[in-house]
Protein backbone atom coordinates (compact mmCIF):
# COMPACT_ATOMS: atom_id res chain seq x y z
CA UNK A 1 0.00 0.00 0.00
CA UNK A 2 1.21 3.47 -0.79
CA UNK A 3 2.08 5.83 2.00
CA UNK A 4 -0.37 8.63 2.48
CA UNK A 5 1.04 12.11 2.65
CA UNK A 6 -2.02 14.23 3.32
CA UNK A 7 -5.52 13.95 4.66
CA UNK A 8 -7.04 14.96 1.35
CA UNK A 9 -5.86 11.62 -0.03
CA UNK A 10 -8.41 9.96 2.24
CA UNK A 11 -11.27 11.53 0.38
CA UNK A 12 -10.07 12.55 -3.07
CA UNK A 13 -11.23 10.81 -6.23
CA UNK A 14 -8.02 10.81 -8.25
CA UNK A 15 -5.57 9.18 -5.87
CA UNK A 16 -2.83 8.28 -8.36
CA UNK A 17 -1.81 8.76 -12.01
CA UNK A 18 -3.06 5.22 -12.68
CA UNK A 19 -6.54 6.07 -11.46
CA UNK A 20 -6.44 9.29 -13.45
CA UNK A 21 -5.46 7.36 -16.58
CA UNK A 22 -8.33 4.91 -16.25
CA UNK A 23 -10.83 7.69 -15.53
CA UNK A 24 -9.76 9.44 -18.73
CA UNK A 25 -10.00 6.16 -20.67
CA UNK A 26 -13.49 5.63 -19.26
CA UNK A 27 -14.65 9.12 -20.20
CA UNK A 28 -13.23 8.91 -23.72
CA UNK A 29 -14.87 5.50 -24.20
CA UNK A 30 -18.20 6.88 -23.04
CA UNK A 31 -17.90 9.83 -25.44
CA UNK A 32 -16.88 7.72 -28.45
CA UNK A 33 -19.32 4.90 -27.75
CA UNK A 34 -22.36 6.26 -29.65
CA UNK A 35 -20.28 6.83 -32.80
CA UNK A 36 -19.19 3.22 -33.16
CA UNK A 37 -22.33 1.26 -32.30
CA UNK A 38 -25.78 0.95 -33.85
CA UNK A 39 -28.80 2.98 -32.78
CA UNK A 40 -30.18 0.07 -30.83
CA UNK A 41 -27.16 -0.06 -28.52
CA UNK A 42 -27.32 3.68 -27.94
CA UNK A 43 -30.91 3.12 -26.82
CA UNK A 44 -29.74 0.28 -24.54
CA UNK A 45 -27.05 2.55 -23.08
CA UNK A 46 -29.64 5.25 -22.39
CA UNK A 47 -31.90 2.73 -20.72
CA UNK A 48 -29.02 1.49 -18.56
CA UNK A 49 -27.88 5.02 -17.64
CA UNK A 50 -31.33 5.87 -16.31
CA UNK A 51 -31.44 2.71 -14.25
CA UNK A 52 -27.97 3.49 -12.90
CA UNK A 53 -29.22 6.85 -11.61
CA UNK A 54 -32.18 5.25 -9.84
CA UNK A 55 -30.11 2.33 -8.49
CA UNK A 56 -27.47 4.73 -7.15
CA UNK A 57 -30.19 6.66 -5.30
CA UNK A 58 -31.78 3.49 -3.97
CA UNK A 59 -28.36 2.26 -2.86
CA UNK A 60 -28.02 5.36 -0.68
CA UNK A 61 -31.19 4.30 1.12
CA UNK A 62 -30.76 0.52 1.21
CA UNK A 63 -27.01 0.07 1.08
CA UNK A 64 -25.76 3.03 3.08
CA UNK A 65 -28.57 3.98 5.45
CA UNK A 66 -29.90 0.45 5.98
CA UNK A 67 -33.54 1.13 5.15
CA UNK A 68 -35.57 -0.48 2.39
CA UNK A 69 -37.95 0.68 -0.31
CA UNK A 70 -40.24 -1.29 -2.60
CA UNK A 71 -41.84 1.93 -3.79
CA UNK A 72 -39.18 3.52 -5.95
CA UNK A 73 -41.28 3.06 -9.10
CA UNK A 74 -43.58 5.57 -7.40
CA UNK A 75 -40.84 8.23 -7.17
CA UNK A 76 -39.79 7.29 -10.69
CA UNK A 77 -43.36 7.95 -11.88
CA UNK A 78 -43.53 11.25 -10.00
CA UNK A 79 -40.33 12.36 -11.72
CA UNK A 80 -41.56 11.31 -15.16
CA UNK A 81 -45.02 12.87 -14.87
CA UNK A 82 -43.68 15.91 -13.03
CA UNK A 83 -41.18 16.73 -15.76
CA UNK A 84 -43.64 16.22 -18.60
CA UNK A 85 -46.42 18.23 -16.93
CA UNK A 86 -44.15 21.07 -15.82
CA UNK A 87 -42.91 21.35 -19.41
CA UNK A 88 -46.21 20.87 -21.24
CA UNK A 89 -48.60 22.67 -18.87
CA UNK A 90 -46.39 25.18 -17.07
CA UNK A 91 -44.11 25.90 -20.01
CA UNK A 92 -40.91 25.32 -18.06
CA UNK A 93 -37.68 24.57 -19.93
CA UNK A 94 -36.41 21.00 -19.53
CA UNK A 95 -33.38 21.89 -17.43
CA UNK A 96 -35.66 23.59 -14.89
CA UNK A 97 -38.56 21.13 -15.02
CA UNK A 98 -36.34 18.09 -14.40
CA UNK A 99 -34.82 19.23 -11.07
CA UNK A 100 -38.20 20.62 -10.01
CA UNK A 101 -39.82 17.24 -10.62
CA UNK A 102 -36.90 15.67 -8.76
CA UNK A 103 -37.62 17.97 -5.83
CA UNK A 104 -41.30 17.03 -5.89
CA UNK A 105 -40.24 13.37 -5.72
CA UNK A 106 -37.87 14.29 -2.88
CA UNK A 107 -40.80 15.93 -1.08
CA UNK A 108 -42.79 12.72 -1.35
CA UNK A 109 -39.69 10.83 -0.24
CA UNK A 110 -39.51 13.02 2.84
CA UNK A 111 -43.19 12.31 3.61
CA UNK A 112 -42.69 8.57 3.18
CA UNK A 113 -39.59 8.83 5.34
CA UNK A 114 -41.70 9.98 8.31
CA UNK A 115 -43.60 6.71 8.88
CA UNK A 116 -40.37 4.93 7.99
CA UNK A 117 -38.90 6.28 11.24
CA UNK A 118 -41.08 3.88 13.17
CA UNK A 119 -40.87 0.94 10.78
CA UNK A 120 -38.06 -1.42 10.02
CA UNK A 121 -37.28 -4.34 7.76
CA UNK A 122 -40.33 -6.18 6.39
CA UNK A 123 -42.77 -3.61 7.83
CA UNK A 124 -41.03 -0.78 6.04
CA UNK A 125 -40.94 -2.86 2.85
CA UNK A 126 -44.73 -3.25 2.93
CA UNK A 127 -45.33 0.44 3.74
CA UNK A 128 -43.20 1.57 0.80
CA UNK A 129 -44.79 -1.05 -1.43
CA UNK A 130 -48.17 0.46 -0.57
CA UNK A 131 -46.85 3.89 -1.53
CA UNK A 132 -45.64 2.68 -4.92
CA UNK A 133 -48.97 1.04 -5.72
CA UNK A 134 -50.94 4.09 -4.57
CA UNK A 135 -49.02 6.47 -6.81
CA UNK A 136 -49.83 4.51 -9.96
CA UNK A 137 -53.50 4.28 -8.94
CA UNK A 138 -53.73 8.03 -8.31
CA UNK A 139 -51.98 8.91 -11.54
CA UNK A 140 -54.14 6.48 -13.51
CA UNK A 141 -57.34 8.12 -12.30
CA UNK A 142 -56.60 11.82 -12.67
CA UNK A 143 -57.20 13.65 -15.93
CA UNK A 144 -54.31 16.03 -15.20
CA UNK A 145 -52.01 13.05 -15.62
CA UNK A 146 -53.77 11.84 -18.75
CA UNK A 147 -55.45 8.97 -16.90
CA UNK A 148 -55.07 5.52 -18.42
CA UNK A 149 -54.30 7.01 -21.84
CA UNK A 150 -51.02 8.46 -20.63
CA UNK A 151 -49.11 11.51 -21.78
CA UNK A 152 -46.82 12.31 -24.67
CA UNK A 153 -43.50 13.88 -23.82
CA UNK A 154 -43.04 17.31 -25.42
CA UNK A 155 -40.13 18.00 -27.76
CA UNK A 156 -36.87 18.31 -25.92
CA UNK A 157 -35.08 21.55 -26.70
CA UNK A 158 -32.25 22.88 -24.56
CA UNK A 159 -31.43 26.41 -25.68
CA UNK A 160 -30.41 26.09 -29.33
CA UNK A 161 -29.91 22.33 -29.04
CA UNK A 162 -32.86 20.20 -30.20
CA UNK A 163 -32.41 16.79 -28.63
CA UNK A 164 -34.44 14.56 -30.90
CA UNK A 165 -32.45 11.38 -31.39
CA UNK A 166 -31.29 8.71 -28.96
CA UNK A 167 -27.72 9.58 -29.86
CA UNK A 168 -28.11 13.21 -28.84
CA UNK A 169 -30.02 12.25 -25.74
CA UNK A 170 -27.15 9.90 -24.85
CA UNK A 171 -24.76 12.82 -24.29
CA UNK A 172 -27.24 14.62 -22.06
CA UNK A 173 -27.82 11.42 -20.08
CA UNK A 174 -24.17 10.48 -19.69
CA UNK A 175 -23.38 13.98 -18.45
CA UNK A 176 -26.11 13.80 -15.84
CA UNK A 177 -25.28 10.26 -14.76
CA UNK A 178 -21.60 11.10 -14.26
CA UNK A 179 -22.55 14.26 -12.36
CA UNK A 180 -25.01 12.46 -10.09
CA UNK A 181 -22.58 9.62 -9.41
CA UNK A 182 -19.78 12.05 -8.54
CA UNK A 183 -22.18 13.85 -6.24
CA UNK A 184 -23.10 10.57 -4.58
CA UNK A 185 -19.48 9.62 -4.07
CA UNK A 186 -18.62 12.97 -2.60
CA UNK A 187 -21.65 12.83 -0.32
CA UNK A 188 -20.69 9.40 1.01
CA UNK A 189 -17.12 10.52 1.77
CA UNK A 190 -18.16 13.54 3.81
CA UNK A 191 -20.15 14.35 6.93
CA UNK A 192 -23.68 13.56 5.77
CA UNK A 193 -22.74 10.25 4.17
CA UNK A 194 -20.81 9.20 7.25
CA UNK A 195 -23.89 9.92 9.33
CA UNK A 196 -25.96 7.68 7.01
CA UNK A 197 -23.51 4.79 7.34
CA UNK A 198 -23.28 5.34 11.10
CA UNK A 199 -27.06 4.97 11.39
CA UNK A 200 -26.89 1.73 9.44
CA UNK A 201 -24.05 0.24 11.50
CA UNK A 202 -25.01 1.36 15.03
CA UNK A 203 -27.89 3.79 15.29
CA UNK A 204 -27.70 4.14 19.08
CA UNK A 205 -24.04 5.12 19.00
CA UNK A 206 -24.75 7.51 16.11
CA UNK A 207 -27.40 9.27 18.21
CA UNK A 208 -25.16 9.66 21.20
CA UNK A 209 -22.47 11.14 18.93
CA UNK A 210 -24.85 13.91 17.92
CA UNK A 211 -26.45 12.51 14.77
CA UNK A 212 -30.12 13.47 14.57
CA UNK A 213 -31.47 10.20 13.21
CA UNK A 214 -34.95 11.56 12.50
CA UNK A 215 -33.41 14.17 10.23
CA UNK A 216 -30.91 11.88 8.52
CA UNK A 217 -33.32 8.99 7.95
CA UNK A 218 -35.85 11.25 6.26
CA UNK A 219 -33.05 13.01 4.39
CA UNK A 220 -31.88 9.65 3.03
CA UNK A 221 -35.40 8.97 1.76
CA UNK A 222 -35.61 12.42 0.17
CA UNK A 223 -32.22 12.21 -1.59
CA UNK A 224 -32.96 8.68 -2.77
CA UNK A 225 -36.35 9.82 -4.11
CA UNK A 226 -34.68 12.78 -5.82
CA UNK A 227 -32.40 10.45 -7.78
CA UNK A 228 -35.37 8.25 -8.70
CA UNK A 229 -37.32 11.36 -9.76
CA UNK A 230 -34.48 12.58 -11.99
CA UNK A 231 -34.27 9.09 -13.49
CA UNK A 232 -38.02 9.13 -14.14
CA UNK A 233 -37.91 12.56 -15.76
CA UNK A 234 -35.22 11.38 -18.16
CA UNK A 235 -37.02 8.11 -18.82
CA UNK A 236 -40.06 10.02 -20.11
CA UNK A 237 -37.86 11.23 -22.99
CA UNK A 238 -36.46 7.80 -23.75
CA UNK A 239 -39.97 6.40 -24.12
CA UNK A 240 -41.49 9.66 -25.46
CA UNK A 241 -44.76 8.42 -24.01
CA UNK A 242 -45.69 7.58 -20.43
CA UNK A 243 -48.66 5.77 -18.94
CA UNK A 244 -49.38 4.46 -15.42
CA UNK A 245 -48.94 0.81 -16.45
CA UNK A 246 -45.19 1.31 -16.87
CA UNK A 247 -44.52 2.04 -13.20
CA UNK A 248 -45.33 -1.34 -11.73
CA UNK A 249 -44.31 -3.13 -8.57
CA UNK A 250 -42.07 -5.25 -10.80
CA UNK A 251 -40.13 -2.11 -11.65
CA UNK A 252 -39.58 -1.30 -7.94
CA UNK A 253 -38.39 -4.85 -7.35
CA UNK A 254 -36.01 -4.64 -10.31
CA UNK A 255 -34.47 -1.45 -8.91
CA UNK A 256 -33.90 -3.22 -5.62
CA UNK A 257 -32.50 -6.28 -7.41
CA UNK A 258 -29.99 -4.09 -9.26
CA UNK A 259 -28.68 -2.69 -5.99
CA UNK A 260 -28.44 -6.10 -4.31
CA UNK A 261 -26.94 -7.92 -7.31
CA UNK A 262 -24.43 -5.11 -7.81
CA UNK A 263 -23.41 -4.98 -4.17
CA UNK A 264 -25.08 -3.10 -1.30
CA UNK A 265 -23.28 -0.10 0.09
CA UNK A 266 -20.66 0.24 -2.65
CA UNK A 267 -20.36 3.04 -5.16
CA UNK A 268 -19.86 0.94 -8.27
CA UNK A 269 -22.30 -1.78 -7.19
CA UNK A 270 -25.44 -0.08 -8.51
CA UNK A 271 -23.63 0.77 -11.74
CA UNK A 272 -22.67 -2.82 -12.59
CA UNK A 273 -25.91 -4.17 -11.11
CA UNK A 274 -28.06 -1.88 -13.24
CA UNK A 275 -25.87 -2.56 -16.26
CA UNK A 276 -26.07 -6.32 -15.94
CA UNK A 277 -29.76 -6.61 -15.13
CA UNK A 278 -30.90 -4.16 -17.83
CA UNK A 279 -28.74 -5.87 -20.38
CA UNK A 280 -30.03 -9.30 -19.37
CA UNK A 281 -33.60 -8.03 -19.39
CA UNK A 282 -33.30 -6.70 -22.93
CA UNK A 283 -31.29 -9.67 -24.21
CA UNK A 284 -33.48 -12.36 -22.66
CA UNK A 285 -36.53 -10.97 -24.43
CA UNK A 286 -35.01 -12.51 -27.54
CA UNK A 287 -33.93 -15.69 -25.83
CA UNK A 288 -35.93 -17.87 -28.20
CA UNK A 289 -33.99 -16.46 -31.15
CA UNK A 290 -30.67 -17.80 -29.88
CA UNK A 291 -29.63 -20.70 -32.13
CA UNK A 292 -29.99 -24.20 -30.63
CA UNK A 293 -30.61 -22.97 -27.06
CA UNK A 294 -33.72 -21.08 -28.18
CA UNK A 295 -35.11 -24.07 -30.04
CA UNK A 296 -34.38 -26.32 -27.12
CA UNK A 297 -36.02 -23.97 -24.63
CA UNK A 298 -39.04 -23.62 -26.88
CA UNK A 299 -39.48 -27.40 -27.11
CA UNK A 300 -38.96 -27.66 -23.38
CA UNK A 301 -41.54 -25.05 -22.55
CA UNK A 302 -44.06 -26.44 -25.05
CA UNK A 303 -43.84 -29.89 -23.58
CA UNK A 304 -43.61 -28.98 -19.92
CA UNK A 305 -45.35 -25.64 -19.49
CA UNK A 306 -48.63 -24.27 -20.78
CA UNK A 307 -48.60 -22.55 -24.14
CA UNK A 308 -48.08 -19.17 -22.43
CA UNK A 309 -44.99 -20.57 -20.78
CA UNK A 310 -42.86 -19.62 -23.76
CA UNK A 311 -43.02 -15.95 -22.86
CA UNK A 312 -42.11 -16.70 -19.28
CA UNK A 313 -38.87 -18.44 -20.20
CA UNK A 314 -37.03 -15.13 -20.01
CA UNK A 315 -38.15 -14.60 -16.44
CA UNK A 316 -37.14 -18.12 -15.45
CA UNK A 317 -33.65 -17.68 -16.88
CA UNK A 318 -33.43 -14.19 -15.43
CA UNK A 319 -34.44 -15.42 -12.00
CA UNK A 320 -32.01 -18.34 -12.13
CA UNK A 321 -29.13 -16.01 -12.93
CA UNK A 322 -30.03 -13.78 -9.98
CA UNK A 323 -30.28 -16.76 -7.63
CA UNK A 324 -26.89 -17.99 -8.85
CA UNK A 325 -25.23 -14.60 -8.29
CA UNK A 326 -26.60 -14.26 -4.77
CA UNK A 327 -25.69 -17.85 -3.95
CA UNK A 328 -22.09 -17.67 -5.10
CA UNK A 329 -21.36 -14.03 -4.32
CA UNK A 330 -23.51 -12.70 -1.46
CA UNK A 331 -21.71 -9.36 -1.64
CA UNK A 332 -22.92 -9.01 -5.21
CA UNK A 333 -20.76 -8.22 -8.21
CA UNK A 334 -18.85 -5.78 -6.03
CA UNK A 335 -17.59 -8.79 -4.07
CA UNK A 336 -16.12 -10.26 -7.28
CA UNK A 337 -14.32 -6.97 -7.87
CA UNK A 338 -12.96 -6.91 -4.32
CA UNK A 339 -11.56 -10.41 -4.64
CA UNK A 340 -10.03 -9.70 -8.03
CA UNK A 341 -8.33 -6.61 -6.66
CA UNK A 342 -7.08 -8.55 -3.65
CA UNK A 343 -5.75 -11.26 -5.96
CA UNK A 344 -3.69 -8.86 -8.06
CA UNK A 345 -2.46 -6.93 -5.07
CA UNK A 346 -1.01 -10.04 -3.47
CA UNK A 347 0.00 -11.73 -6.74
CA UNK A 348 1.96 -13.98 -7.14
CA UNK A 349 1.32 -15.31 -3.63
Amino acid sequence: MDMKRGYYEDVQLVTSPVVFFWLVVLLVTLLLFPFVVSNYYVYVANYIAINIIVAAGLNLLVGYTGQISLGHAGFFAIGAYGTVILMAKAGMPFLLALPCAGLVAAGFGFLLGLPALRLEGPYLAIATLGFGLTITQVIGRMTLFGGREGLHAPDLVIGPWAVDTDRQFYFLLIGMTVLLLLGMRSLIKTRVGRAFIAIRDADIAAQTMGVNIVFYKTLAFAVSAFYAGIGGGLYAFVLRFIEPEIFTLMMSIMFLAMVVVGGLGSLMGPVVGAGLLCWLDLKLRNILNIPFLGDWLETLSRSWFSITGVSNIQYIVFGSIMVAIMLFEPLGLYGVWLRTKQYWRTWPF
Binding site: S186, T190, A198, R200, D201, I204, A206
Partner: protein, 267 residues
Amino acid sequence: MTSDFLTISNLFISFGGIKALQDISFSMAQGEIFSVIGPNGAGKTTLFNCISGLYRPDTGSIRFEGTAIEKKKPHAIARLGIARTFQNIELFSHMNTMENIMLGRHIHMGTGLFRGMFMWGRHSFAAREEIRHREHVERIIDLLELQNVRDFPVGALPYGTQKLIELARALALEPRLLLLDEPCAGMNQEEKQDMIFWIKDIQDDLGITILLIEHDMKLVMDISDRVLAINFGQPVTLGTPGAVQQNKEVRKAYIGEEEQDGPSAVG
Protein backbone atom coordinates in the same frame (compact mmCIF):
# COMPACT_ATOMS: atom_id res chain seq x y z
CA MET B 1 -14.94 23.29 41.94
CA THR B 2 -18.60 23.98 41.37
CA SER B 3 -20.99 21.22 42.26
CA ASP B 4 -23.73 22.13 39.79
CA PHE B 5 -21.90 20.59 36.84
CA LEU B 6 -24.16 17.53 36.65
CA THR B 7 -26.99 17.26 39.12
CA ILE B 8 -29.30 14.27 39.23
CA SER B 9 -32.22 14.44 41.63
CA ASN B 10 -34.78 11.83 42.61
CA LEU B 11 -34.49 9.83 39.42
CA PHE B 12 -37.05 7.04 38.96
CA ILE B 13 -37.49 4.78 35.96
CA SER B 14 -39.27 1.47 35.61
CA PHE B 15 -39.80 -0.97 32.78
CA GLY B 16 -43.09 -2.81 33.20
CA GLY B 17 -43.02 -3.98 36.79
CA ILE B 18 -39.28 -3.69 37.20
CA LYS B 19 -38.10 -0.62 39.04
CA ALA B 20 -34.76 -0.11 37.36
CA LEU B 21 -33.84 3.08 39.19
CA GLN B 22 -35.37 4.36 42.40
CA ASP B 23 -34.63 7.73 43.89
CA ILE B 24 -31.12 8.21 42.56
CA SER B 25 -29.67 11.60 43.48
CA PHE B 26 -26.13 12.87 43.26
CA SER B 27 -24.23 15.79 41.85
CA MET B 28 -20.83 15.94 40.21
CA ALA B 29 -18.24 18.64 40.38
CA GLN B 30 -16.42 19.75 37.28
CA GLY B 31 -13.11 17.99 36.84
CA GLU B 32 -13.68 14.97 39.07
CA ILE B 33 -13.77 11.28 38.30
CA PHE B 34 -16.99 9.91 39.70
CA SER B 35 -17.60 6.16 39.70
CA VAL B 36 -20.81 4.19 39.91
CA ILE B 37 -20.45 0.65 41.20
CA GLY B 38 -22.89 -2.14 41.84
CA PRO B 39 -23.53 -5.77 40.96
CA ASN B 40 -24.79 -6.85 37.54
CA GLY B 41 -28.32 -5.58 36.95
CA ALA B 42 -28.05 -2.91 39.60
CA GLY B 43 -29.07 -0.20 37.12
CA LYS B 44 -25.73 1.38 36.29
CA THR B 45 -26.12 1.29 32.51
CA THR B 46 -29.76 2.37 32.88
CA LEU B 47 -28.47 5.46 34.67
CA PHE B 48 -26.09 6.15 31.77
CA ASN B 49 -28.90 5.69 29.26
CA CYS B 50 -30.98 8.25 31.16
CA ILE B 51 -28.15 10.78 31.14
CA SER B 52 -27.40 10.33 27.45
CA GLY B 53 -31.08 10.57 26.56
CA LEU B 54 -31.69 7.03 25.33
CA TYR B 55 -34.20 6.49 28.15
CA ARG B 56 -36.61 9.07 29.48
CA PRO B 57 -36.90 8.87 33.29
CA ASP B 58 -40.40 8.55 34.80
CA THR B 59 -39.77 11.31 37.33
CA GLY B 60 -36.79 13.25 38.58
CA SER B 61 -34.47 15.67 36.90
CA ILE B 62 -31.04 15.68 35.31
CA ARG B 63 -29.37 19.05 34.97
CA PHE B 64 -26.13 19.57 33.07
CA GLU B 65 -24.50 22.95 33.64
CA GLY B 66 -27.86 24.38 34.61
CA THR B 67 -29.79 22.95 31.62
CA ALA B 68 -32.50 20.36 32.20
CA ILE B 69 -31.67 17.45 29.88
CA GLU B 70 -33.96 14.66 31.06
CA LYS B 71 -36.41 15.33 28.21
CA LYS B 72 -33.86 16.06 25.49
CA LYS B 73 -33.05 13.78 22.56
CA PRO B 74 -29.67 11.96 22.55
CA HIS B 75 -28.25 14.06 19.70
CA ALA B 76 -29.19 17.28 21.48
CA ILE B 77 -27.49 16.06 24.66
CA ALA B 78 -24.35 15.23 22.66
CA ARG B 79 -24.34 18.82 21.38
CA LEU B 80 -24.26 20.07 24.97
CA GLY B 81 -20.94 18.27 25.42
CA ILE B 82 -21.75 14.84 26.84
CA ALA B 83 -20.12 11.84 25.14
CA ARG B 84 -20.18 8.19 26.11
CA THR B 85 -18.81 4.75 25.40
CA PHE B 86 -20.75 1.52 25.56
CA GLN B 87 -20.42 -1.64 27.59
CA ASN B 88 -21.03 -3.78 24.52
CA ILE B 89 -19.03 -2.12 21.78
CA GLU B 90 -21.14 0.01 19.47
CA LEU B 91 -18.72 0.88 16.68
CA PHE B 92 -19.57 1.47 13.03
CA SER B 93 -18.19 -1.88 11.98
CA HIS B 94 -17.84 -1.24 8.24
CA MET B 95 -15.97 2.03 8.63
CA ASN B 96 -12.26 2.23 9.31
CA THR B 97 -10.78 3.62 12.52
CA MET B 98 -10.33 7.12 11.13
CA GLU B 99 -13.92 7.34 9.88
CA ASN B 100 -15.29 6.02 13.16
CA ILE B 101 -13.49 8.71 15.10
CA MET B 102 -14.47 11.29 12.47
CA LEU B 103 -18.09 10.67 13.43
CA GLY B 104 -17.20 12.13 16.80
CA ARG B 105 -16.52 15.38 14.94
CA HIS B 106 -20.05 15.38 13.49
CA ILE B 107 -21.38 18.18 15.70
CA HIS B 108 -18.34 20.35 15.02
CA MET B 109 -18.62 20.13 11.24
CA GLY B 110 -20.83 22.14 8.93
CA THR B 111 -20.85 20.29 5.61
CA GLY B 112 -24.47 19.70 4.70
CA LEU B 113 -26.11 17.90 1.81
CA PHE B 114 -25.21 20.36 -0.94
CA ARG B 115 -21.67 21.19 0.04
CA GLY B 116 -21.21 17.46 0.70
CA MET B 117 -22.23 16.59 -2.83
CA PHE B 118 -19.90 19.15 -4.36
CA MET B 119 -16.52 18.30 -2.91
CA TRP B 120 -14.67 19.30 -6.05
CA GLY B 121 -11.01 19.74 -5.44
CA ARG B 122 -9.09 20.25 -2.26
CA HIS B 123 -10.17 23.86 -1.90
CA SER B 124 -13.88 23.18 -1.73
CA PHE B 125 -15.57 23.79 1.61
CA ALA B 126 -16.17 20.09 2.26
CA ALA B 127 -12.58 19.08 1.48
CA ARG B 128 -11.05 21.82 3.60
CA GLU B 129 -13.29 20.86 6.48
CA GLU B 130 -12.45 17.16 6.08
CA ILE B 131 -8.73 17.94 6.17
CA ARG B 132 -9.01 20.18 9.21
CA HIS B 133 -11.01 17.67 11.24
CA ARG B 134 -8.88 14.72 10.18
CA GLU B 135 -5.92 16.60 11.61
CA HIS B 136 -7.80 16.92 14.87
CA VAL B 137 -8.63 13.21 14.86
CA GLU B 138 -5.00 12.40 14.15
CA ARG B 139 -4.02 14.02 17.46
CA ILE B 140 -6.45 11.70 19.27
CA ILE B 141 -5.07 8.74 17.32
CA ASP B 142 -1.59 9.75 18.48
CA LEU B 143 -2.72 10.14 22.07
CA LEU B 144 -4.26 6.67 22.23
CA GLU B 145 -1.58 5.10 20.02
CA LEU B 146 -3.96 3.86 17.34
CA GLN B 147 -1.73 4.78 14.36
CA ASN B 148 -1.21 1.22 13.17
CA VAL B 149 -4.95 0.51 12.84
CA ARG B 150 -5.80 3.88 11.32
CA ASP B 151 -7.04 2.57 7.95
CA PHE B 152 -8.42 -0.81 9.02
CA PRO B 153 -12.15 -1.56 9.17
CA VAL B 154 -12.88 -1.75 12.89
CA GLY B 155 -15.05 -4.87 12.75
CA ALA B 156 -12.00 -7.13 12.46
CA LEU B 157 -9.84 -5.47 15.14
CA PRO B 158 -9.12 -7.00 18.55
CA TYR B 159 -11.54 -6.31 21.39
CA GLY B 160 -9.22 -4.09 23.40
CA THR B 161 -8.46 -1.96 20.35
CA GLN B 162 -12.15 -1.56 19.63
CA LYS B 163 -12.68 -0.34 23.19
CA LEU B 164 -9.96 2.26 22.62
CA ILE B 165 -11.52 3.40 19.34
CA GLU B 166 -14.80 3.92 21.18
CA LEU B 167 -12.95 6.10 23.68
CA ALA B 168 -11.24 7.97 20.84
CA ARG B 169 -14.60 8.57 19.13
CA ALA B 170 -16.05 9.96 22.36
CA LEU B 171 -13.02 12.24 22.81
CA ALA B 172 -13.35 13.55 19.26
CA LEU B 173 -16.65 15.11 20.31
CA GLU B 174 -14.64 17.33 22.70
CA PRO B 175 -16.98 16.52 25.57
CA ARG B 176 -17.00 18.29 28.90
CA LEU B 177 -18.58 15.23 30.50
CA LEU B 178 -17.45 11.77 29.45
CA LEU B 179 -19.47 8.68 30.40
CA LEU B 180 -17.38 5.51 30.37
CA ASP B 181 -19.35 2.28 30.63
CA GLU B 182 -16.92 -0.43 31.77
CA PRO B 183 -13.92 0.77 29.75
CA CYS B 184 -11.74 -2.09 31.02
CA ALA B 185 -14.17 -4.98 30.61
CA GLY B 186 -12.49 -7.90 28.91
CA MET B 187 -9.02 -6.36 28.92
CA ASN B 188 -5.85 -7.97 30.17
CA GLN B 189 -3.72 -6.48 32.97
CA GLU B 190 -1.44 -4.56 30.65
CA GLU B 191 -4.30 -3.05 28.67
CA LYS B 192 -6.06 -2.16 31.93
CA GLN B 193 -2.97 -0.39 33.19
CA ASP B 194 -2.77 1.64 29.97
CA MET B 195 -6.44 2.49 30.22
CA ILE B 196 -6.00 3.76 33.78
CA PHE B 197 -3.22 6.10 32.64
CA TRP B 198 -5.28 7.37 29.75
CA ILE B 199 -8.30 8.04 31.95
CA LYS B 200 -6.09 10.02 34.33
CA ASP B 201 -4.60 11.88 31.35
CA ILE B 202 -8.04 12.71 30.03
CA GLN B 203 -8.94 14.16 33.41
CA ASP B 204 -5.69 16.03 34.02
CA ASP B 205 -4.59 17.19 30.57
CA LEU B 206 -7.87 17.58 28.74
CA GLY B 207 -9.84 18.72 31.78
CA ILE B 208 -12.74 16.43 31.05
CA THR B 209 -15.06 15.37 33.87
CA ILE B 210 -15.57 11.60 33.90
CA LEU B 211 -18.48 9.48 35.07
CA LEU B 212 -17.33 5.88 35.19
CA ILE B 213 -18.94 2.47 35.52
CA GLU B 214 -16.46 -0.25 36.30
CA HIS B 215 -16.36 -3.67 37.89
CA ASP B 216 -12.65 -3.71 38.56
CA MET B 217 -12.50 -2.52 42.18
CA LYS B 218 -8.80 -1.78 42.10
CA LEU B 219 -9.25 0.55 39.15
CA VAL B 220 -12.24 2.28 40.74
CA MET B 221 -10.44 2.78 44.04
CA ASP B 222 -7.26 3.99 42.31
CA ILE B 223 -8.65 6.72 40.15
CA SER B 224 -12.02 7.82 41.52
CA ASP B 225 -12.51 10.98 43.49
CA ARG B 226 -15.90 9.81 44.69
CA VAL B 227 -17.91 6.60 44.36
CA LEU B 228 -21.65 5.91 44.32
CA ALA B 229 -22.73 2.36 45.06
CA ILE B 230 -26.14 1.22 43.87
CA ASN B 231 -27.97 -2.08 44.21
CA PHE B 232 -31.38 -3.11 42.88
CA GLY B 233 -31.72 0.36 41.42
CA GLN B 234 -31.41 2.05 44.81
CA PRO B 235 -28.53 4.11 46.15
CA VAL B 236 -26.52 2.30 48.82
CA THR B 237 -23.85 4.79 49.70
CA LEU B 238 -21.92 7.71 48.30
CA GLY B 239 -18.52 8.89 49.39
CA THR B 240 -14.78 8.64 48.97
CA PRO B 241 -13.43 5.32 47.63
CA GLY B 242 -12.11 4.39 51.08
CA ALA B 243 -15.39 5.01 52.83
CA VAL B 244 -17.45 3.18 50.22
CA GLN B 245 -15.08 0.24 50.39
CA GLN B 246 -15.64 -0.08 54.12
CA ASN B 247 -19.43 0.18 53.83
CA LYS B 248 -21.16 -2.92 55.17
CA GLU B 249 -23.89 -3.07 52.56
CA VAL B 250 -21.46 -2.65 49.69
CA ARG B 251 -19.45 -5.57 50.96
CA LYS B 252 -22.62 -7.60 51.38
CA ALA B 253 -23.68 -6.86 47.80
CA TYR B 254 -20.30 -7.76 46.40
CA ILE B 255 -19.11 -10.70 48.46
CA GLY B 256 -22.31 -11.93 50.08
CA GLU B 257 -23.00 -12.14 53.83
CA GLU B 258 -19.83 -11.49 55.71
CA GLU B 259 -18.38 -14.57 57.30
CA GLN B 260 -16.18 -14.84 60.32
CA ASP B 261 -12.98 -15.13 58.33
CA GLY B 262 -14.14 -13.37 55.13
CA PRO B 263 -11.82 -11.23 53.08
CA SER B 264 -10.94 -8.01 54.79
CA ALA B 265 -11.42 -5.75 51.80
CA VAL B 266 -13.46 -5.75 48.63
CA GLY B 267 -11.52 -6.63 45.51
